[in-house]
Amino acid sequence: MQIAVSGGKGGTGKSTIAINLAIALKEYFDLVLADLDVEAPNDHILLNVELQNEEPVHMFMPHFDYSKCIKCKKCAEICEENAIITMKDGTPFLIPTLCSGCRGCEIVCPVPEAILERQKTMGHTYLTNTVYGFPLITGKLLEGEERAMPIVVAAKERAQKLKKELLLVDTAAGTSNTVSKALENSKLLIAVTEPTPLGLHDLELILKLADLMGIETWIVLNRSSLGNREGVQKVAKEYGVKIVAEIPYSENIIHSYIEGKPIVLSENKEAEVFKELAKKVAEYVG
């Protein structure tokens, strides 16, 4: 079973909620946490662990054997990314940064072995053992690479392979298709937001996406004391979702965040919010 933490806007506290919820959910499930914010993965930093067990994510790239190529231009014609350009006589050239690794060129090439396989490393996935009783999977896109999707897919697969009772996914900000990929197959989405007009705007987008995907959604209102709660309540009502937890702006949480000491393990009263949230989640997903 899978549940997800997401929230539209960056910096609303997605990762803070994901790691604290993961620790609290350990009471109820044998679980794995997957950090699928592959452009800016931070769960390991908040959990204060060094990434372990690195595995590269390779992507196919065509390599032309010019002694066999018949210059038919088919590969260039079908490439949706325009990553293959051809000279006047039909000689193909690859622009590596545009290639998405889909293998379309290899599929249409009429000459066996005129297109050979080369691989490029797009990023890495990690399987880190934490001291909290659950493993962490992290996807990390290499700097300079543009495509997050293959890393999201690879990290999610690695997490699924562990076959834990519960997979808790922490997504990137926004609502693009890499976020949908991370959310896919979730039984529950915890949407984290803050009560500012910016938070509200982005919350609506993630609620729209969850609606399209048919995922049950709960709202966690972070820094609830900072702004206008009525706005969030209104949006929640409109979309028929409930606000399940409120976390007031808290110096304790900021310090736990900075020090890499999860607040849920502390004696602070904020720890209770996460324990209660975990209980609700456990009751819901069963």
């Binding site: 452009e39 379309g104 543009e146 926004g174 500012t196 729209k208």
Partner: protein, 295 residues
């Protein structure tokens, strides 16, 4: 001149710092602002934009469609989809429109001609307005579940260049998205200077280092602003990073509740609370930006 503002990590204050800098520079310089965070555009909210003067639909994104009438259900498309976006649901192979990247491999491997087509879909919208402060703003909004491509940001910049020519504007300020992916690369491409924003936390440090690697790839001069600087006074690793990489720190902004408060008022903090601690720091930064970058 083109200035990009980036951070790697979301929520460190990119948009609020951008809004204040633009607000402080608008009277001296003729500029245009671009919100390149198409996933979660917020600059228009901070400038209290109520209506858009012009909108363009963004097409170009492609999604595969399977004609269930003629499909022979061999399942090869689902097997070969590189991103696992085709599912067998209620007796039919169906493309998941919210995760499809539009690569077209399914169409190529399908043994029956015409069953799978690639259809152009709307990926979002680009909008232009003149703010109440009299400078133009261009913003993009991606439709939910669409691939976020750098093409969208490139198109925003093209539009901006046209307007700059028409209105004789000097500077383009680009508020880039969080992360390091294609939309960030498109935001940084062609910039004359990059202003990095980070907060003194290990997570923000990690992310700003990652985006700086992309900046280095473009060989663009970079500057650093430390936001919420007093939240973690013992944390010197941002300063160490700046020193090691020879990145000038052009300002430190203290944590100030006036900032979120100004957000709810839909105003840059320098407009809403000009005497606040954050506003004073931002004013100093604007001065340095004028002297060091825009000179």
């Amino acid at each position: 001149m083109q200035i990009a503002i980036a951070s790697g990590k979301g929520g460190v204050g990119k948009s609020s710092v951008t809004a204040s800098l633009v607000y402080l520079l608008k009277d001296t310089y003729k500029l245009i602002a671009i919100d390149a965070d198409a996933d979660a555009p917020n600059l228009d909210l901070l400038f209290n934009v109520e209506k858009w003067e012009e909108e363009k639909e963004l097409t170009g994104a492609k999604i595969a469609k399977i004609n269930t009438e003629t499909c022979i259900q061999c399942g090869i498309c689902a097997e070969r989809c590189p991103y696992d976006c085709i599912n067998f649901i209620d007796g039919d192979y169906v493309v998941n429109e919210l995760t499809c990247e539009g690569c077209g491999v399914c169409r190529l491997v399908c043994p029956v001609k015409g069953v799978i087509t690639l259809e152009e879909v709307r990926s979002g919208i680009i909008r232009k307005t003149t703010t109440k402060y009299n400078f133009p703003l261009i913003s993009a909004q991606l439709d939910v579940g669409r691939p976020n491509s750098g093409k969208l940001v490139t198109e925003e910049k093209e539009w901006a260049k046209k307007i700059m020519k028409e209105q004789n504007l000097e500077h383009m300020i680009v508020d880039s998205a969080a992360g390091i992916g294609c939309q960030v690369i498109a935001s940084l491409g062609g910039a004359d200077a990059v202003i990095l924003i980070a907060e003194p936390t290990p997570a923000s440090l990690s992310d700003v280092k990652r985006v700086y690697k992309v900046v280095q790839h473009f060989r663009e001069p970079a500057y650093l602003i430390i936001n919420k600087a007093d939240l973690n006074p013992g944390f010197r690793r941002l300063h160490e990073f700046a020193e090691e990489e020879d990145i000038p720190i052009i300002g430190e902004i203290p944590y100030d509740r006036a900032v979120p408060k100004s957000m709810t008022m839909l105003q840059p903090v320098n407009e809403a609370f000009p005497q606040s601690k954050a506003s004073k720091a931002l004013k100093e930064i604007a001065k340095i930006v004028e002297e060091e970058i825009l000179r």
